[in-house]
Symmetry: D2
Subunit: 137 residues, 4 copies
């Protein structure tokens, strides 16, 4: 599990005066990019080798609204990984410990040009091992 | 079921050259607002009476990527409704009939100030009836 | 001058209960893409030939706020064009005639890989002529 | 002048593989919120007293594109302030010193309900003094 800290921006709120629900999917992505960086996998390097990482699905459950300038922590767990596809789980937590939201996303590796699914096991053994070692059940 | 037609905008794409996955959650919202309008329920009227309609959750499954200027149809179905909470299902379809994505969202009615869940059955009987009559199983 | 009609979406509002100011820059882009389509220039065709159209600058002046579900018209004028760079002016107008915002953007044509400015005069004479013929002073 | 450091997120890129130009307006806002916080003015406090701070205009000039995961610094200067309206100037700088973009925004203070311009000189003398003391020519 890795954590990522963030503050709500004004443009992320909506007329309900809370963060618009679509932005949680973006917070998950930010936390995921940061998770990858923390474990030593730079997504830019993967992409510069012609491999992209599209979402297969995305889910968010909204428990307590986030408001402008709230600070929050995203707890990110890699819960599945087989070299071709993987899944993350997220918990958005306020500094006081209250859970604001939870969610999960599924991803695969794919070729940049035609988005054909591929395994990175042979092509990127180092990334494979780094991600594999992070899987929590 | 109601349909809503839309075209992909440039700012909705990402460096993978497809629509960023978070935007599907926004497409669902657009289709939902339009669904409500089509059945004669203006969300502005509901909100001007102090009732807001937050998301309880949101899910999207990405099947075939949408690209810049693609035209697509969102098919929106109200699948549950009890006056206090309700659920929509979505299908994003290309003009050729290919399904690009599916998803669902859950919502409740809540007071604007403190986001306390409420039923609209007594306060807005007309909206209650209109939505009730649209439920598909 | 070409017109483009649009309705404000919920996710475009902010906690001030009006459209967030950054979204006007996106409305200008939508209107611009639509302008190009109306004059018979498909941006997808230009891009598939390795030419992209980055912004050089962008300006918006906010006169009257747009609110959720407001319908508005963007009036788009091409005011400069020399084959290598060009400028658009925009007016966002409510159905009652009130001006909600104005703005302008400057663009150039550039190679996709390194974003090096190029003229389309020789490579795309047809697009050159179509755009040239639209310039208003 | 205050600085604000940020990293480009994936969802901020577009199919040109650079940050979409509309997001610079959002970066300016982030930097501005942070500027206010650094000088001891919490926008939440101002808003909870019924005063909002709409944009009067916004301008961005794009010099060198930002790409995914680029780190950048926003240098923010308050260049005009009279208690009723004010202007900021921004410079987006890469760690190597290269200027990626510049811009400016104008703002006013206004009542939350009808967005009527007001001066904060009498109502918020402390904020008035703090902002006044930051003005650079």
């Amino acid at each position: 599990m890795k954590t990522y800290t963030r503050q709500v921006q004004y443009y992320e709120t909506d007329k309900m005066k809370v963060v618009h629900h679509s932005n949680y999917i973006r917070y998950f992505e930010e936390a995921r990019s940061n998770f990858m960086k923390q474990i030593g996998c730079d997504i830019r390097n993967i992409e510069s080798n012609g491999i992209v990482i599209p979402n297969v699905d995305a889910y968010a459950r909204y428990i307590k609204p986030l408001r402008f300038f709230d600070e929050f922590i995203v707890e990110t767990r890699l819960v599945k990984f087989n070299g071709a596809s993987f899944e993350f789980e997220y918990k958005i937590v306020l500094p006081c410990g209250t859970i604001a939201a939870t969610g999960h996303t599924a991803h695969c590796f794919a070729t940049e040009d035609k988005l054909i699914p591929v395994s990175i096991k042979r092509k990127f053994p180092e990334i494979y091992e780094k991600m594999k070692s992070q899987v929590e059940c």
